[in-house]
């Protein structure tokens, strides 16, 4: 079911690109504006459309800059920075980045993830995720993730999770998956 959903999304991306390409090609090469010689109407009227667009763009730019200053510069703390770096300490909402430890995932009877631990640069921190939002499908051991939540007594109480993909792309290989199922993570965090 979920594979079906993803297949639709992937095909949709291609379909949208092709449709966009065709639509934009038509727009680019054909000037469909009906105009008579001597009709210079738009030249004399005040052009409100572009002014409106500019206003929206400037307002939007302000939002983007504020997001940049509040969220984007330090999107997350690494596990080893908890308690060590000023912005990664105390009782506040933070995002923590680390790789899910092999064998640490504890599931509830209904299949939801309750607990796991993540590590980075030799340090590990347990995550309590019993009240967290639904997991992305790619969540698994040995995958780097960003957990959003609060620090409580040396644990991260997670409410949200994003899978952080590395820049590595490898072809799928059935043998490799079979052997790595029970082995420790091949790339130690």
């Amino acid at each position: 079911m979920i594979a079906m959903q993803y297949a639709l999304k992937i095909l949709g991306s291609y379909g949208l690109t092709v449709a966009g390409v065709v639509a934009y090609a038509i727009y680019t090469a054909v000037d469909l504006t009906p105009r008579e010689p001597g009709d210079d109407g738009p030249r004399k009227r005040r052009r409100w459309g572009p002014i409106l667009v500019l206003a929206v763009v400037i307002a939007g730019g302000g939002v983007v800059v504020s997001k940049f200053l509040t969220s984007a510069i330090d999107y997350y703390c690494n596990v080893d920075e908890i308690g060590a770096k000023g912005s990664c300490t105390g009782d506040r909402r933070i995002r923590v980045q680390g790789t899910v430890d092999q064998g640490s995932i504890v599931e509830s009877p209904d299949g939801g993830v309750e607990q796991f631990s993540i590590s980075f640069n030799g340090k590990s921190v347990p995550v309590d995720y019993s009240d967290g939002a639904a997991m992305p499908a790619l969540f698994a051991a040995c995958i780097p993730v960003v957990v959003e939540g609060r620090l409580r007594g040396g644990r991260v109480v997670g409410t949200n999770l994003e899978v952080k993909h590395t820049e590595k792309y490898e072809a799928e290989n059935a043998d490799r998956i079979a052997t790595s199922e029970n082995a420790p993570c091949s790339q130690p965090a």
Partner: protein, 258 residues
């Protein structure tokens, strides 16, 4: 892709400016060749992107979005750079010509179009691999800023006035705006985003995946060239139409006065 202006209409209509171009189409044998190559490339890309290239170890089929996502952003960078270079050429007195201004405008339009595809495919990819459509991390935030800037640039072009004043103000904006590109590109190195780092230059891509990405870049580059030539010619026609309208209005006014 042809202009549907009949020969008889434009040859009998009065007015000295730009008549010749209005009679011809925006296509030439050269653009037709590029157009055909683009279509062939798109078919090739669909084949390799969806079927021939392998699944990723972690991301499985979702990796196929990369073959659209990455080429479109490369081309957006290229398009905005061309806009800046053409704007410089317009501002430099020796090469001053409205053709440069129209190339700048056409290129920015195409860049915004590619950027939109990049954002949409990226957000679908994010929903599969990160588990969310959008995050305010450094890469996405700077990209949104770049996108907004060039929509603003297109709006600034349409504020009115003479062709020359349009060209001057938009050229200055284009030269300032282009410095955002390194900000977006290196945001993944300078800050720590959720978005993955650069893969291509670090050799972190499987061979066949890299080749498919290359097919995507070649195809979208051809498509960019095709769009740029056509759009720039249509913009020439629009300017010529404006000029002719002005000439006609002036002639009418003179007659009224006499």
């Amino acid at each position: 892709m042809t202009m549907t202006t009949t020969a008889s209409e434009s040859s009998t209509a009065p007015g000295p400016v730009g008549i010749r171009s209005l009679r011809s189409a925006t296509a030439t044998p050269f653009t037709r060749a590029i157009g055909l190559a683009t279509i062939a490339g798109m078919v090739w890309l669909l084949g390799f992107g969806l079927f021939v290239s392998p699944k990723d170890q972690v991301q499985k089929d979702a990796v196929r979005i990369m073959y659209v996502h990455v080429p479109t952003v490369y081309l957006a960078y290229l398009a905005f750079t061309v806009t800046a270079v053409a704007s410089l050429a317009y501002l430099w007195k020796r090469t001053r010509s409205l053709t440069w201004d129209r190339i700048a405008g056409a290129s920015a339009e195409i860049g915004v179009f590619f950027m939109a595809i990049c954002l949409i495919t990226g957000s679908v990819w994010g929903s599969i691999s990160w588990g969310t459509y959008w995050v305010w991390d450094a890469r996405l935030t700077t990209t949104a800023f770049l996108f907004a800037t060039y929509i603003g640039y297109l709006a600034v072009r349409r504020l009115g006035g003479s062709h020359e004043s349009r060209a001057r103000r938009s050229a200055i904006m284009a030269i300032i705006a282009v410095v955002e590109i390194p900000l977006v590109h290196f945001s993944v190195e300078w800050w720590r985003p959720l978005h993955q780092n650069e893969s291509v230059s670090k050799g972190e891509l499987d061979g066949l995946m890299l080749f498919t990405l290359f097919v995507g870049i070649v195809t979208f580059t051809l498509f960019y060239a095709w769009l740029l030539l056509h759009r720039q010619r249509v913009m020439y026609m629009e300017d010529a139409m404006d000029d002719r309208g002005l000439d006609l209005a002036l002639a009418e006014r003179r007659q009224e006065v006499q």
